[in-house]
Symmetry: C2
Subunit: 192 residues, 2 copies
């Protein structure tokens, strides 16, 4: 939790009250590998996670039973089902721990109300959202213009240590290829 507070403080001041409130609406928790934090289809999504340590993944299962990974959540990242929260609908995504992970669990509504009481948090969130938008723009452009192999290279650069925690099909479903294709791509890379 201190990690998050310090992160915010590195960019702006924070009153003691504001800091206290953040503690009040959150809870540090550790989950074992395989724990499902949000289940696709559950009727309400009211939690947002800040990752202190470990590795989470958000994904959906389509009508054919195939998984598609939207995001990996590693140290210092936020993860949740923002589609469900924002549209106030049942969970479109599942979130699971790919390894034992320590996260700060926030109540989504309380976190969203923090701004009415402590507008001082606004710049922090604005910056966070902006960076998120930019990274999503980048991801879409990459998906449009790069081959599967190039996307895999980029992925390894962006998440240099993640392969220890993920199964190949996690990465494949993030890149938008089958696990078999990713396997072949990996073989090609080794050859070179």
């Amino acid at each position: 939790m201190k990690a998050l507070i310090n992160k915010i403080k590195s960019n702006q001041d924070l009153s003691l009250e504001a800091e206290a409130y953040l503690y009040a609406i959150s809870e540090k928790k550790t989950f074992s590998k395989g724990t499902v934090l949000i289940k696709q289809g559950q009727t309400t999504v009211n939690k947002v996670f800040f990752v202190l340590d470990g590795c989470l993944r958000s994904y959906c299962i389509d009508k054919n039973g195939k998984e598609h990974t939207l995001q990996f959540g590693i140290k210092d990242w936020w993860i949740s089902d923002y589609i469900a929260i924002h549209n106030n609908e049942s969970a479109t995504l599942a979130i699971e721990c790919l390894k034992a992970s320590t996260v700060i669990v926030f109540n989504a509504k309380k976190l969203n109300n923090i701004f009415t009481q402590f507008p001082e948090y606004e710049p922090f969130l604005r910056n966070l959202l902006e960076r998120h938008v930019v990274s999503l723009h980048q991801r879409i452009l990459n998906q449009l213009q790069l081959t599967a192999s190039e996307r895999y290279d980029l992925f390894l650069k962006q998440y240099p240590d993640i392969e220890q925690f993920t199964r190949n099909y996690h990465i494949a479903s993030y890149l938008g290829v089958t696990q078999e294709s990713l396997s072949r791509i990996r073989v090609e890379k080794i050859k070179k």
Copy 2:
């Protein structure tokens, strides 16, 4: 401009000073079809556009000379090269008018500074960014799980009137297929 002010006011109050400032940092302009508002590679991007009327498009040209459309900007949408603005680098995208368009042009820096003087704008922007993030999440998931034909169907639902303004290759490059493939998809649809 009134349209934008009213939009903000529909969700919150706005002081007269704050309203006046918004006028001060913006300028309503009309551009003819084909006008390039941002050129890919230009050294600085310092403008953000709010579309009052018309249709814009942001896209990039890759190393093979192929275009990839990131976004269409229609009535009431914001459009710019947020990648460049946020990373403070030269333009990664181009923005052009697909038809004669009236937009409000904002200075990006001044728009970003508006919050230090008028924090009352924060909730509006936060909401805007959140919705944007959610729609980008949706787009990524769609790209991962839908076929080109399904993505086209969805596109037509999301932008019911846009085909009047766009060339087929604009849409194809947004969906991530070649213009020839889109042409074939369209033929299949007519058959059914």
